[in-house]
Amino acid sequence: MSASPVAFGVSRPSAGRNRKREPARGPGGPRPHPAVARVALAAAGLGLGVTTALTFTAESASQLAAPGGLATFAGSMAGMIGTYLALIMVLLVSRIPVIERVAGQDGLIRLHRMIAPWPISLLAAHALLLTVGYAQAARTGLWHEAGTLLTYPDVLIAAVALAIMVVIGVISVRAIRMRLPRDTWWAIHLWMYLALALAFPHEIVLGPSFVGHPLARVVWSAVWAATAGLVLCYRIGLPILRTVRHQLTVVEVRPEGPGVVSVICAGRKLDKLACSGGQFFCWRFLAPGMWWQAHPFSLSALPQPPYLRLTVKGVGGYTRALAQLRPGTKVAIEGPYGAFTRYAQRRPRALLVAAGIGVTALRSLLEDLPRGSGPVVLLRGRRPEDLVLSAEVRELVRVRGGSLHEVTGPRDRAAIDAVSLPRLVRDLDQRDVYVCGPERFVADITALARYLGVPDDAIHHEAFAL
């Protein structure tokens, strides 16, 4: 039995930016507030300052002069700052919508990865320095002192937590991460939550900043509780809520081009799903062999209640399996995520560049641009049939008074470069550049745009790791 194709066509754009959307189409994504990012950064800095000061004020000059004093102080400082950074890392990926909208999921993950070596190194140094310091104070050997410290149950548990963190740190080293199957790496990585929870008791009970300082204890506990609450709420609670509320199921799998299929899902109350063009969801298809993985895919069109569409290229086992999805398969979603939206636009007009399957995000972003906005769209592909959804893109561009250029051919003959781009786009200084596609392509176009004088805050990219 094959379901009749869903009438998923091209929707009509609104006349101007501020016009209310047609009710059949869902409310559109909420506007991000850049001030949120500034406030968040200042708050993070504030917390760092407070944490450092708490450690300083718990120390005295004579304590430093005592045997082992310097090592103990350095160890305490390393522990406090390391833990604080670990909490920040957790917050970065806890998918708090208000922050995610401004920075974008990929930006947050990039920051998360950048910070990552610091907490683990600091916490390992913390353990070592404190052992050295206590050994000096008690006038015993290092191993003996380590043994003594481990007799405290809180310390023992914290040592286990540190071991988990070190393992996670090691497997995240690029060379090793490449060798592990992604799901194995991910499963081990999730143990970080457990490690942080295990480490908490020893901080409160033994930390010199907290022993005898009830206010500091309360504040630290509150920060931990808030972080845990945010994680529970936004990483677990909200996605479950969305899934249950919308009850998405696959209704059709439609081929779009060589190796590319669109998966159309239907659900309830999609008119309440607030997402902007260019955003993506993490999709978990509850089919055998696929239910334990969640992958990010952009919407390839704005929601047309009761339908959602994603378009996927089959490059690996998982994406190829998507082409075999059976209608009726339930879908769990997380999102919407992404700052690759019309709200990022700074300049009057836009240039949209996509390669291959990158057209999906571009196509839904295009839908969000108002009539008369005159976007220029460049689609890059090897062969003309690789430019999937091009008919829809053409129609969308026409209605908006823009122009579409399809650049096909091998790289040495047809490329978007410093010569061809200015020829195709004469008013580059008036346009934001949105680029979407494979990582290499995005990097190249971004560099090209910078070279041609487009400032960084007018370049927006969404890179697909394929």
């Binding site: 990012a37 500034r38 950064l41 200042a42 708050a43 993070a44 800095g45 504030l46 917390g47 760092l48 300052g49 407070v50 944490t51 450092t52 000061a53 708490l54 300083f56 004020t57 005295s60 000059a61 004579s62 304590q63 002069a65 005592a66 045997p67 082992g68 103990t72 310091g133 206590y134 104070a137 008690a138 006038r139 003594t148 410290l149 405290y152 009970v205 033994l206 010199p208 022993v211 005898g212 300082h213 805050d457």
Partner: protein
């Protein structure tokens, strides 16, 4: 964004200074104060020798501080305030331990040894007998405070 590092730095400095500003030095909080010495010792304190009040030319209150003295399991604050040649305040030591073990030991020792730690002043002593201290540790001990202040 370009301004990001400055925002973080600014917040950090603000937080740091804020905590420093609000911080009360140790000794006024932390462990509960010892209960006052029993009345017998108080009675001893009230019968001051006649020589006492003639200490008119005594110096103003001056804390003779010992910095935190390491005693093997952790460190103890020693703070003896001398006023008019007499010890007028012995701060209940704030135990800053390097190990929880010593903190447990110290807190359990208080109720066991007569429910409070006797203060050197109310005991009217001229010397302290204890394990031999090194010359360095002497400088920070109660004996040193007695030597310095009581006998000039």
């Amino acid at each position: 964004m370009r301004r990001a590092p400055w925002l973080v730095l600014g917040g950090a400095v603000a937080g740091f200074l804020g905590v420093l500003g609000l911080h009360r030095p140790a000794g006024s909080s932390a462990l509960p104060h010892a209960t006052p010495p029993p009345t017998a010792a108080r009675a001893g304190a009230s019968t001051r020798p006649a020589a006492g009040p003639t200490a008119a030319a005594g110096s103003a209150a001056a804390p003779v501080t010992g910095p935190v003295v390491p005693y093997g399991y952790g460190e103890l604050d020693t703070r003896v305030t001398i006023s008019g040649g007499r010890i007028t305040a012995v701060t209940v030591p704030v135990l800053k331990t390097a190990e929880q073990f010593s903190r447990q030991l110290a807190t359990q020792a208080i109720p066991v040894l007569r429910n409070e730690v006797l203060a050197a002043q109310s005991a009217h002593i001229q010397a302290v007998s204890g394990a031999t201290y090194t010359s360095a540790a002497y400088a920070r001990s109660v004996q040193a405070a007695l030597d310095k202040a009581h006998f000039r």
